[in-house]
């Protein structure tokens, strides 16, 4: 046998490359990969950090308990830059990796809408946290929601303000993005059923630097209660401060962003005494308390819904893959939909046919900067 120069080069190259190829192949067979789209840069980068912390805590638990299908689970992350094009790009980068079996999507409804067509094409389960009710009604079988949707938050805000607080003249303020618009609509619908009226319905664009005009309009409208759907905490913080400065003191029931650690830090005393619907409330259940303890050990910030939903999503997803006994997307899908009575940090998961896991909200209030659990309101539909 003669050794040609070309043959020698090929043999040498393969010899050098072999360990890496083998290591790759072994790693692929050893770990089970879950993709995660999250904001690392852009205006919601802080929430991305909390989401990753929550996911990692769950991952740690799952792996310590023996992993999934006797394999360790690995998280592969991509930055969505807090933009829709960024989210689409991040998802397609992850979707191009054939060994990723399922995904954690975004907490922003608008980004899930943007990714939805690609998710349908990829045909693998995506657990997400956006609360626009439409997302699970798109006819896309691969979307599973791990937070209660806004048809519930609207009803809970409405019920608490109109019945418990007995306020009938509402000012609604909401972001003009997909989340804020659908939330404002859900609240308006709910208020109609409670016999309350909307005196002013005011949308605002995200990253507004000034809310003077909005606050003065609320003041003039004669509203005796405010219902809000803020997407970003810095907007909420600026609004809250200006509201108090311009002398508006009526009760305020907000969507979950009013209860997050960032909002409480930014707005400070301006949020004292406000109410919020929160999918995550530490005092609401033993599971929520357990998550809080784990979260405080892992991070220096207070636990909130940004971390709790990814924690629940990974736990439920891993349990579902184990139950399915395979990484076949259809089997995982069936196993997620069959999840009933799972007690997570956010509440009890009972998946319905649409892929909605949670069907109720907690009402909490801000007592001098501390979030205090008031009650949980659960719905049967």
């Amino acid at each position: 046998m003669t050794i040609t120069r070309r043959g020698f080069s090929v043999a040498l190259a393969s010899g050098v490359a072999m360990p890496a190829v083998l290591r790759n192949a072994l790693a692929q067979s050893n770990t089970l990969k879950i993709g995660m789209v999250l904001p690392v840069t852009g205006s919601a980068a802080d929430s991305g950090k909390y989401a990753l912390t929550g996911a990692k805590i769950a991952l740690d638990r799952v792996n310590k308990a023996g992993g999934v299908l006797s394999r360790q689970v690995e998280l592969v992350t991509e930055d969505d830059q807090t933009t829709n094009p960024g989210a689409v790009l991040a998802f397609s980068k992850l979707a191009a990796q054939p060994d990723i079996v399922a995904f954690i999507g975004s907490i922003r409804s608008t980004q899930n809408h943007a990714m939805a067509p690609d998710i349908l094409k990829t045909a693998k389960p995506v657990c997400f946290g956006g609360t626009d009710p439409q997302l699970t009604k798109l006819g896309n079988p691969w979307l599973f929601r791990f937070r209660p949707n806004d048809s519930y938050s609207g009803r809970v805000i409405g019920a608490y303000g109109a019945e418990t607080l007995a306020k009938k003249n509402w000012a609604i303020i909401h972001s003009t993005d997909a989340f804020g618009t659908s939330g404002g609509k859900a609240l308006t619908e709910a208020l109609g059923k409670f016999g309350a009226k909307v005196t002013i319905d005011q949308g605002y664009p995200n990253q507004s630097q000034d809310f003077t005009a909005v606050v003065l309009a609320i003041k003039q409208s004669g509203a005796d209660v405010i219902g809000s759907y803020f997407t970003f905490e810095n907007d909420l913080g600026i609004f809250a401060r200006q509201l108090r400065q311009l002398g508006v003191t009526v009760p305020w029931v907000g969507s979950p962003s009013i209860t997050t650690a960032t909002a409480i830090k930014l707005a400070g005393p301006a949020l004292y005494g406000t109410f919020g619907v929160a999918d995550y409330a530490e005092e609401s259940s033993p599971e929520a308390k357990e998550f809080a303890a784990l979260y405080r050990k892992a991070a220096s910030t207070e636990p909130d819904n940004f971390g709790s939903w990814t924690y629940d999503a990974l736990n439920v997803l891993c349990a579902a893959i184990n139950k399915a006994g395979s990484t076949d997307p259809n089997k995982i899908r069936d196993a997620i939909l069959a999840t009933k009575g799972y007690k997570g940090a956010e509440g009890e998961y009972n998946f319905d046919q649409y892929g909605d896991g949670l069907h109720g909200y907690n009402i909490v209030r801000n007592e001098k900067g501390k979030i205090v659990f008031d009650k949980h309101i659960e719905f049967n539909d």
């Binding site: 950090k49 605002y204 990253q207 507004s208 003077t212 005009a213 003065l216 309009a217 400065q245």
Partner: protein, 291 residues
């Protein structure tokens, strides 16, 4: 009436912030003929320096302010040496791209060092504001308006009545002629960069207690300030101030009387009107006259 006064006060306050950032744009444009797209990031970096000194290290506010300004002077210097100076003989396009790159670099470096959480910077005064008749005056906005007036007066005196100011003006008008007359052009440009980094920094520190300190705070303000610069007339100091303040007022009144969701739209609608009907801005000279 009280509504109008309240809106006017807020409009002038927010407009003064745009004006301060616009001033930085104008100074660099006059000296180098390029737009510095990292001007907004100067504000952001200064605000973060303030948070590090005043909040994290708990230094006195005035000392933190001086340290932050020192940091900004250094940043202005480095910015000139790395972003502008190597490209100074090229056309304006590579320099503009270079400032855009620097802006992304500054934003992401701050993100990597400080993390993504928005921060709270307390204001200069313990009293958040006063009620004067029907109008609430936010003390931070009052400070911003006062500082803007002082800086404009200082700038007028500096450019019109000092030798250094005149040298800077000569450099901005004709670099070759200035250097023939013995003016050290490179040093003049260095001073301009340091000065505009300082002004951008002051704007950032002043607005931080109102808008919070976040990575993207600079870009939101800079976009409006850029519009203000065009409305005022690119390269004109008085134009930048008038442009900034009118933009603040238009925006606030537009939001109150026309539509809140289209608030940002008004600023850019006015910008487009100016670009079509008066591209040289309020105070700008006609290009033909200049030639």
């Amino acid at each position: 009436m009280s509504l109008v006064l309240q809106l006017l006060f807020t409009g002038i306050g927010i407009g003064a912030v745009y004006a301060l950032v616009a001033l930085g744009f104008v100074l660099i444009f006059r000296a180098t003929n390029v737009v510095n797209f990292a001007q907004g990031e100067f504000s952001m970096v200064a605000a973060f320096l303030m948070v590090v000194c005043a909040v994290d290290l708990e230094l006195p506010y005035w000392l933190s302010f001086l340290i932050a300004l020192g940091g900004m002077a250094l940043l202005g210097m480095l910015f000139n040496l790395t972003v502008y100076y190597p490209l100074r003989h090229r056309s304006f396009l590579p320099v503009i791209i270079s400032t855009i790159g620097a802006s992304i670099f500054l934003a992401n470096t701050t993100l990597a060092i400080y993390g993504p959480q928005p921060q709270v910077l307390p204001g200069w005064f313990d009293t958040p504001g006063f009620q004067v008749g029907p109008v609430y005056l936010d003390s931070q906005y009052l400070l911003i308006i006062a500082v803007t007036i002082v800086l404009v007066a200082f700038q007028y005196w500096f450019f019109e009545h000092t030798l250094l100011g005149k040298k800077l003006q000569a450099t901005s008008q004709d670099k070759e002629m200035a250097s023939l007359l013995g003016i050290p052009v490179a040093r003049m440009i260095m001073i301009t960069f340091i000065y505009s980094a300082l002004i951008g920094g002051i704007a950032g520190i002043l607005v931080a207690p109102i808008l919070f300190v976040s990575i993207q705070m600079g870009s939101t303000i800079a976009l409006k300030a850029f519009a203000a610069t065009i409305i005022g007339g690119f390269g004109d100091v008085a134009g930048a101030i008038i442009g900034g303040i009118s933009l603040g007022i238009i925006e606030t009144f537009g939001a109150a009387y026309i539509s809140v969701p289209y608030k940002d739209g008004f600023a850019f609608f006015v910008l487009i009107l100016f670009l079509i009907f008066r591209p040289q801005g309020i105070f700008g000279e006609r290009v033909a006259e200049k030639a």
